[in-house]
Symmetry: C2
Subunit: 436 residues, 2 copies
């Protein structure tokens, strides 16, 4: 017990909590809950939490500690509930990738089966895009909804993609900013609790995680991505949310569009029954998982793409948030086409390189307060495994003018390769992880 | 490279430095020097330094990193030099113990051989006493000296025991305060650089370390104490200071007096050629090491205690700092004697327990700004290995009144034992560590 200056008595001491983790032990449940709560109250200092985060990174946390820590972060803010809707809810979270527009076709597709999808999304930062940035390419569409508007839209339309309010897990927001400057971002228990605290607080019944690995992913290494996926599936399950994860390849951009407006266009193609094979494959795989967790393991997902039910849900979802689904999307005023220098097979298109290039074109932002250029981005005309002839277009970069092209082309220089042999194709969905 | 808000460009990024240590690597010399300097300039935040300190605690530092870090801490402040004195300098540092008054007889003893002893000391905090607190029992004696006064006294008297100015290694002061609240005090590279940065900045040619292990020591574990001793001997040697360490037992209080005035009284007994055997043994052993490093390996140390040369140096040292060596020292107005409940051998007197009891009596302080009670303390009448009869006095506690006796007696309850068998005696000086 230690007394504060104003005489209040704290039941634990931050140094004892730090030492327990530092020495490789478990932190008892009440002490861990206190640590997060006291940090939120500014009783535990940033320096103390930073030392604790480093000890967690180097010594780990067990399954129960991760659950308790996540629950304490949820308890720091509001907790939503859609129990009154009278229908099951299911959500998806992706750890982020290049060309990852899957949320756009996925949410209305799942909603077409009577499952509510309360998708709270973020904006892009760095080389991965943000779902809200993409949707804001649609004239009139707005990301900010009140809780009442969100509930009404889930009831009437079934799908919502909107901005997460600041009321969910505020402790996570503060801890994330701290981890960012103290070299402790990479701790799997902290990544898992950061992601899952917001998803659990959001009040979904079921959650499917798209955990990416490869050059364009946050976790480049497959084994680390698998560890993160397992940790999050266990955490969701232990917290009463039915959770499944797919481990998916992010060495190559998803689909043919990387940017904002062009990714919306590609999503609408998928909703119309077309679109690139990999985007369709992943959308269908994730929809099947969400529907299975919501009690519909045999739903014919592909039929809803073919027969217009998913497209109808999309149109209602966009309209409900003020968007015009028929309005023309912005297109780049200036473009530049890169062509194949020789005959051969495209052997590599590096997701990280293309992601950074799209970011430099203005599709992403360097600082959280920067705007994005909705028309900026890259359209691919070939993908790894495709045979190309010399002079054939490989990809087009675009933007409002050509002022950013040189820096984008610079990073693209080493980001693709043409070879003589047809490359091996690796499966897009590498592994499925379910609760044990 | 990262730019600060005012446009200045920093050559390194704190997160990169933290990551290097976190991932088990070496931090390059220029990056490590920058980290300490930038922390002193408030560019690197407490939270970043705390994460770095935890990574150092868990992943260690190699010999060269410790030297560089220490040198960077020295560079944060002033560096003293006694090169103009025309005589060799030697100093001693103890990691702290209970009843550890060795500096008091040691400094004048070594000075009696023409070696200057620039002993910068601290005050007690917690269960270990402080050299300055003990000396302030002497009426008139003052701890604060200017650099010029210190130099003059070293030239004229040869020995100085005074307070370290705040100008030496200010980075260490800040880092120590941070470590104290972030569970990173125990990192051996950080302990070593904290102690040695001040000793090296003090400008001594030679240094003897008294590294204690056992219940009353900062490092209770012998192997950890040995690792600390080796690290500091290497660090001193690498930094151009001839350094030796003795590993000494601190399971039992040193001598028979624990407090302030009573420890001065015991020190004067040693300087008069008497005193408890263990205090004499350690004083002589440390003096021999200091004199050997100062070029007098064959000095007859015990003769200087017998023939009054050490006592003369003591009197001149005390007088030079305004103290009256003949003034009566404060004595406790109230005392309480604890007697042996049965016949037998004293088998244990636990240094930590007796240290905490003396602290509770008022000989030490709970907060840095508290005063100490110079007359408070404990006098032992028997030590482990002594045979006692039922009713024979074991120790006396004392203070200005008896208001603190109950809490002191409470902690003393389990701090001593009487058994039937004569206990094994362990050597006081367990090991000697020299530069390799």
């Amino acid at each position: 017990m230690s007394a504060t200056e104003n005489g209040a008595v704290e039941p634990f001491d931050a140094v004892d909590v730090i030492r327990a983790k530092r020495d490789g032990g478990r932190v008892p449940e009440d002490a861990l809950r206190w640590m997060i709560d006291a940090y939120t109250r500014d009783y535990v200092a940033d320096a103390q939490m930073a030392a604790f985060a480093m000890a967690v990174l180097l010594n780990g946390m067990d399954r129960d500690e991760i659950r308790v820590m996540t629950d304490a972060m949820i308890a720091s803010g509001e907790r939503m509930s859609f129990a009154g809707l009278g229908k099951p809810t299911a959500d998806k979270h992706s750890t982020g990738g290049v060309g990852d527009k899957i949320t756009l076709p996925l949410a209305p597709l799942v909603a077409a089966f009577g499952v509510a999808v309360p998708q709270l999304s973020g904006r892009g930062l760095g080389h991965t895009g943000g779902t809200l940035d993409k949707l804001e390419s649609i004239p009139g569409w707005r990301a900010a909804l009140s809780n009442d508007e969100m509930t009404a839209q889930l009831r009437d339309v079934g799908a919502v993609i909107c901005a997460a309010g600041s009321g969910l897990a505020p402790a996570d927001k503060r801890l994330y900013a701290l981890r960012d400057v103290t070299g402790t971002v990479e701790a799997i228990p902290l990544i898992a609790s950061s992601i899952m605290s917001k998803k659990i607080a959001e009040g979904t019944d079921a959650l499917v995680l798209d955990v990416k690995f490869g050059s364009g992913a946050f976790m480049k290494d497959f084994d680390r991505a698998r560890e993160l996926a397992r940790t999050m599936v266990e955490l969701g399950t232990d917290s009463g949310v039915r959770t499944t994860a797919l481990l998916t390849d992010m060495d190559t951009p998803l689909g043919l569009a990387i940017g904002n407006a062009n990714e919306v266009r590609e999503s609408v193609e998928v909703l119309a029954g077309g679109g690139p094979a990999d985007v369709v494959e992943l959308t269908v795989a994730l929809a099947r998982e969400m529907l299975a967790l919501a009690g519909q393991p045999d739903a014919d997902v592909e039929a809803a793409l073919r027969d217009g039910r998913a497209m109808d849900a999309w149109r209602r979802m966009i309209e409900a948030q003020g968007g015009d689904p028929d309005a023309p999307l912005p297109v780049p005023a200036e473009t530049h086409v890169v062509t194949a220098p020789r005959d051969g097979y495209v052997t590599r298109m590096d997701a990280y390189g293309f992601g950074v290039a799209a970011w430099r074109l203005g599709a992403g932002r360097a600082r959280a307060e920067d705007p994005v250029l909705h028309e900026a981005g890259i359209d691919l005309h070939a993908k790894p495994g495709d045979r190309v002839a010399a002079g054939q277009p490989l990809f087009t970069i675009g933007g409002p003018d050509d002022s950013r092209f040189a820096r984008a082309l610079e990073v693209l220089e080493g980001a693709w390769e043409i070879g003589d042999a047809e490359p091996d194709r690796s499966p897009l969905v590498r592994e499925r992880i379910t609760a044990s």
